[in-house]
Each structure stands twice: as C-alpha cells, then as structure tokens.
C-alpha cells in the first residue's frame, strides 16, 4: 500500500499535492490530517487497496465490522443499489465506505439519506455493539470530504476573527459538521466556538476568546 505526504495552505491543496505524487484520484485514497496550522496543512494520503481482503477476514476480533458490512451490503441489494461496501482500515469508530456509480441519491439532500442509512445500520447492528459504540457510514467519502471542508471553513473563520476581533456566525450545519468545527478550534488559544439557534438551523459562532478574569 503506497502513501505520500502532502503540504499546502489548505487540506485540499495538501491532498492534491500528495495525489500528484501518487498519480491517484481522490476517491481511491485515505486522507489523514497530520497537522493543521493557519499557514500550512500537512496530510498523509494512502492509496486504498481495493483488491485486498478486508482486514476483518484476518481479524476475527473485528467481527462487528464484518457483520455491519454484510448487513449494509444486503440492505443496498434490496434497495436495488449496486455498490461495494468496505470496512475502512484503521478507523475508529468502525467506518463503512460505500462506493459505486451514481450514488448521489444515497447521500440525499444535505446528506439526509446517508444519515438515515447510518441510523438504520446502527439499529440493525446494535446488539453486536458495546454501549456507546457506533458505526459510521460514508458514501463516496462524502462525510470525510464534508469534515475536511468544514475544518477549512473553521480555520478560515478563526483567521478572520483574529484579524478583526469580531465574531463570525457560520451557515447552519449538521451535528457532525459542528462537532468537526469545535474539534478543529478547541486547541486555538485565541478563538472559541459555540452554537446558536435551533435545529436544523443551528449555527456555529466563532469568536475571540476572552482572557480569563483575574
């Protein structure tokens, strides 16, 4: 399995740099963000080996992932969707990747259908999971791409807040997107993030971190 590191101002730029080196397309790779600063982003891009036997076959301890994979595969078959379901290697929590052609309908409006599919999957696999354990379902890396995008948005907003000192209210986002923003900014000593509004119009506000009262 080949991999390469990429650097750029944004995650997208860094991934593109690594993809050029690997001569691969984005849908065939796993992306791991190694470091992110306002100036530079470093990523590790690993080519997914589609011919490899899923790790689950050689790792009985991870049988839950295989149960989930089989159930989702069967569900898609009943839905008349031709797609391949794989277990993302080295991912915690267990993540199922669905790939194939014309899977836009499986993602749906603002990822709604994908989120519904994930809920159904977790209900089906529920009895095999420990308390609090969940299965993440991703279609054509949509979720991963959205997380990268909102992280970019978060970092850009943080830069602007530092320059102007004014808070910025972002667009309404889904819970996993808001979570990605909070995680992206939690280590920043100069900005803070919070959410306002009611679902499904809940928005993240990025503002300057006020110094602690003496």
């Amino acid at each position: 399995m080949s991999s390469a590191e990429g650097r750029g101002r944004t995650v997208d730029e860094a991934v593109d740099a690594a993809l050029i080196e690997l001569k691969e397309s984005r849908r065939n790779v796993d992306v791991k963000v190694i470091s992110e600063t306002p100036e530079e982003t470093l990523v590790e891009v690993t080519v997914i080996d589609h011919t490899a036997v899923p790790a689950i076959d050689s790792a009985p301890a991870n049988g839950k992932a295989e149960v989930a994979r089989g159930l989702v595969e069967g569900l898609l078959k009943h839905m008349g969707v031709r797609a391949q379901v794989t277990v993302r290697t080295g991912s915690e929590p267990i993540t199922l990747d669905i790939s194939g052609r014309d899977l836009g309908a499986l993602i749906g409006w603002r990822g709604e259908t994908l989120r519904a599919l994930q809920s159904v999957t977790n209900v089906m696999v529920g009895r095999h999971l420990a308390e609090g354990e969940r299965i993440i379902v991703d279609v054509e890396r949509y979720r991963q791409r959205r997380e990268h995008t909102v992280r970019e948005i978060a970092l850009r907003a943080a830069r602007q807040v530092k320059m102007t000192g004014d808070a910025i209210t972002l667009d309404a986002m889904q819970p996993f997107e808001r979570r990605a923003i909070h995680l992206a900014l939690e280590g920043d000593p100069d900005v803070t993030s919070g959410s306002i509004g009611e679902e499904p119009e809940r928005r993240v506000v990025v503002g300057p971190r006020k110094p602690a009262a003496e």
């Binding site: 709604e112 989120r115 519904a116 994930q118 809920s119 159904v120 977790n122 209900v123 529920g126 969940r134 889904q174 819970p175 996993f176 808001r178 979570r179 909070h182 995680l183 993030s193 919070g194 959410s195 009611e198 679902e199 499904p200 809940r202 993240v204």
Partner: protein, 87 residues
C-alpha cells in the same frame, strides 16, 4: 406544498436526535426536548393526510419514552418523513 410544515418539524426532531447520536458537543439535548419536538409534529393536521405518518411519529414518541437508542428514534422519524414525501 402539502406536508411541508410537517416535514420541517420532523426534520427538526431528527436533527435533535442526531445531535445526541453524533455527540455534536455543543448542546445537551434532553429526551424531553425530543419528545416536545415530536409532539409539535403530531399537532399538525397534515400528519393525518398521509397514511402511517402519525403511526410512525407515535412510535418515535414511545421510543423516546422507553429510552430507546437515539438511532432507533431517528430511524422511526425518517420513516415518518419518508411516508410523508411518498404521500
């Protein structure tokens, strides 16, 4: 569009449940709030105009009362939303 208000309220309830399931980390959503959001859906007469919508919403409300996992509640609400859009 018929059912639009109901769809909006069901989506709101789903988003509340998902923020619990996904651990958005920016709000403590209580079962009471989710139940209120589902009751808001049930108040609309639109939910009686399409078969099964009220039944699914009732099941979702029962699931919240019974302390069922968030994904189960979400799945039942998605079923209501699906029935509404099919209707």
């Amino acid at each position: 569009m018929p059912g639009r208000a109901a769809a909006g309220r069901i989506r709101k309830a789903i988003a509340l449940v998902n923020s619990v399931a996904d651990g958005a980390g920016d709000e403590d959503v209580t079962p009471t709030e989710i139940a209120e959001a589902i009751r808001d859906c049930l108040e609309l007469s639109e939910v009686d105009q399409v078969a099964n919508v009220r039944r699914y919403l009732g099941e979702a409300l029962d699931a919240v009362s019974d302390g069922m996992p968030a994904d189960f509640v979400a799945m039942t609400l998605y079923a209501a939303l699906g029935a509404l859009s099919d209707g």
